[in-house]
Amino acid sequence: MLSPALIREFKAQVGEDAVFTAAADLMTYSYDAAPLEPVTPALVVRPAGSDALSRAVRLCNQNGLPLTVRGAGTNLSGGTVPPAGGVVIVTNGLNRILEINAEDMYAVVEPGVVTAKFAAASQAQGLFYPPDPGSQAVSTLGGNVAENAGGLRGLKYGVTRDYVMGLEFFDVNGEPIKTGSRTVKCATGYNLAGLLVGSEGTLGVFDRITLKLIPLPAAQRAMVAVFDQADRASETVSAIIAAHIVPATLEFMDNFTIRAVEDYSRVGLPVDAAALLLIEVDGHPAQVKEDAERVEALCRQHGAASIRVARDAAERTKVWEARRSALSALAKLRPTLVLEDATVPRSKIPAMVQAVNDIGRQYRLSIGTFGHAGDGNLHPTILTDKRDKAEWERVEQAIAAIFDRALALGGTLSGEHGTGIAKACFLEKETGPATILYSRRIKKALDPNNILNPGKIIAAAP
């Protein structure tokens, strides 16, 4: 519990209506989309402008209050679950698109702008903002930058990191820090934006983000390749990459997921197929035609039982609806869904698909695997019921086993969901102890009181 005097101070500095203290309000900021235990904060503030945001950060530091910044609370690693007694700063009140510059192809936004709204506003000016995380309809750009969010287009277009040109953020004292620029090139100072992207609110609080925009691709072609054997599908993925073709999207869906999607949405997927690849190439019409033909040929060479190329926009929409409904379809099967995102070098996709299947059998769990095979980022999705203690233990063991396999294959714990709380204790396995120590020193120097989202990424400092 915070003292009444301190609550009055927050109200005076951030705004009377921007401070929530009722137990029932606080509880609604105790969780995000990760299946972790909720932790209720001591206070929630929702600033309506930069100045209020800066003052809220400073007040937290002055009073040694742990501070967790929250956008839409959709992340999957617990990055926005506050520590006990902490303050949650909600950024969805800072939701203005300040500038979309079509001439220089960049935009400046506040952190609470919703990803899909920004993408639509860019598109209205003939520009393309490619990062499209699954939660884009609600996720905020500030959250995307803090988590280095990915999406379906990572293979060709990269992830959020690749679009951050500059940042203005507040340090732990609420002082404004500027890094990067709205120019294509910028070689001044440390690349602090590089450090802050994916830092999950542990190093600073975003105020303004400058994002790169690119021209919209002129043409697309989508297709679905059906395979009788899952390893043929994953080998095809490796073959397409090895042939140096870069599709915009190259998605994999295993039989378990195919059946779930078909049960749910009846889009006409072949339920007998062992695996599907959903592929889209885009760019100049001539290139699209050539790439599509080469991809089709590679699919056939590697044993695709059939290939369906979308003939028009409606068919293309249908292809991606099937993919987008994968998570919904799986979510309907059991109460708890654990969505992992261990990622491997693309040539190791066949081995990883096999490993996930083996792990599912070993721990007697239902695992549907789908995801961004083209960039090595699969989503093994474990379906369970958290209330079943014995099964939940097996889930935790299976997650550890998936991580071990991904690392053994030269991969990473997380392609796009971040470390958060969920993966913090595994990080050392990936990086070694020196990296953790190095990161803790940076954190200690920039945040001596350890108030900026403590416990995330590098766990508790010793």
């Binding site: 929530f20 009722a22 137990a23 029932a24 309000d25 509880m27 609604t28 900021y29 105790s30 969780y31 995000d32 989309a33 299946p35 909720p38 209720t40 929702r46 839409a72 609370g73 959709t74 909600v90 969805n92 009140g93 939701n95 919703v114 899909a116 939660s135 309809a137 609600v138 998570l327 919904s328 979510a331 309907k332 109460p335 708890t336 869904l337 019921d385 209330r387």
Partner: protein, 434 residues
């Protein structure tokens, strides 16, 4: 106040429905209240967490939970967009009932529900009394929309522009009907609903004209009650069950093919809420009637085969259509009312942007949170006005009220009609003044 452990036991009934929410937060994309406030307690995910907290003994504030649970339009946008298929409306209504049982109903609501709503004859007398004297406190403001405003300050009416009570409600004009099936070979039960009876009897008259025109027999019994939605949405299960029982007795032994209503809210209440929330002894009858209940436009298009390829004028009077949440999101009916409108060649249908965004009415939400309701309604008004239409149609009288208020307050000269009125105009000369 009852024992809080008892409250927790009751909340446990919701557990299997509550665990379905995986906290993905996709409901934030579509919730009209959240779009205005950005507060997590206003969106379904936040409310489900609060119910979970109450059940798991992590939260000890039933009043706080009830107050936040009431800040919901029950529009069902979240449920329609939910990846996990959480049955949000049923959970919220059950939780409201459990909390009202535990905390008691607020005295005013209790009086209104138990003394008026539960007794249709008393309600009718009070409303008729009101209709006679409303001129004393209401002054007409917009003759196209048909709205009035308060002559002097009134906490109940605030600065609303409201539709006044009909001088002669439907139950005076047509107390009862019992006609045999005609050319269509069909006979319907006609459930009127409070708003249609007392504010928009012209809608029912239009529907009855249309049914007669197509040779559909009508069974319209005297003494129908409210569908019960105001009571159950405040958690008053007693009044709700009294009304369900009364209405079942009026209808379920009579011979007709389908029960139709002109009110999207009544239809969705009868179809979805009666069977899932009524007392066990009524459930079988409620299920059976629910299976035979249909929105009027759906009935006319699907069963009477009204509509078809109409020769709509390209330069007709511009009309736009608002999808009521209870019609589209709850019942999946959106093509049929448009077919009905297109069947009148005088009009040209022009879709508004975000035609299925909630208008912000939400029944008692409008009374409890008028400021918020009006902010949401204003967005709807802007979408309507941007079409440049002369008429806006919608299949729900509650939406008609809200849209009338919003248009009138903005000074728009746009008539608010029901699709069945528009269709009825096409063959009834006296309806053409619009």
């Amino acid at each position: 106040m009852a024992d809080i452990r008892k409250l927790r036991r009751l909340m446990r009934q919701l557990e299997e429905q509550l665990v379905v929410c995986m906290r993905c937060g996709m409901c934030q994309a579509v919730c009209p209240v959240f779009a205005q406030t950005g507060r997590e307690a206003d969106v379904a995910r936040g409310k489900l967490v609060l119910l979970d907290g109450l059940m798991q003994e992590m939260l000890d504030d039933p009043e706080g939970v009830r107050d936040r649970l009431q800040r919901c339009l029950l529009c069902g946008s979240c449920a329609a967009n939910c990846p996990s298929g959480v049955n949000v409306l049923e959970i919220f209504l059950k939780a409201r009932a459990i909390l009202a049982g535990y905390l008691g109903l607020p005295p005013l609501k209790r009086a209104v529900f138990r003394r008026l709503l539960a007794h249709p004859e008393t309600l009718d007398r009070v409303v008729e009394f009101g209709a006679v004297f409303q001129k004393l406190f209401a002054r007409p403001v917009n003759e196209i929309v048909g709205t009035s405003c308060a002559r002097f300050g009134s906490p109940l009416l605030a600065d609303r522009h409201f539709r006044t009570l009909a001088a002669v409600p439907l139950h005076r004009r047509r107390p009862a009907l019992n006609t045999p099936a005609g050319a269509a070979g069909l006979r319907v039960g006609f459930f009127v609903g409070c708003l249609i009876d007392k504010l928009f009897p012209n809608v029912a008259e239009a529907a009855l004209r249309v049914l007669e025109h197509h040779g559909v027999g009508v069974f319209l019994p005297e003494g129908q009650g409210c569908c019960g939605i105001p009571a159950i949405s405040s958690g008053d299960t007693q009044t709700f069950n009294d009304l369900v029982r009364r209405n079942l007795e009026k209808f379920d032994s009579a011979g007709f093919d389908l029960l139709v209503t002109c009110c999207a809210t009544c239809t969705s209440t009868i179809k979805k809420i009666w069977p899932s929330l009524c007392d066990d002894d009524l459930a079988a009858r409620a299920r059976s009637l629910a299976a035979r209940t249909m929105d009027i436009s759906q009935f006319l298009v699907k069963r009477v085969k009204v509509g078809g390829p109409a020769a709509a004028a390209a330069n007709g009077r511009v009309i736009t259509f608002h999808d009521s949440c209870h019609l589209k999101k709850s019942l999946g009916v959106y093509a049929e009312p448009r077919d009905l409108i297109r069947a009148n060649p005088v009009y040209t249908l022009k879709e508004m942007a975000a035609c299925d965004d909630c208008c912000g009415m939400g029944g008692s939400f409008n009374f409890e949170h008028y400021g918020l309701s009006a902010r949401i309604g204003r967005l709807k008004r802007d979408s309507i006005a941007a079409t440049g239409c002369a008429v806006v149609a919608t299949g729900c009288p509650a939406c008609m009220l809200q849209i009338s208020d919003m248009l009138s307050r903005a000074g728009d000269r746009i008539a608010v009609r029901h699709p069945v009125e528009i269709y009825a105009e096409s063959f009834s000369a006296e309806g053409r003044k619009g």
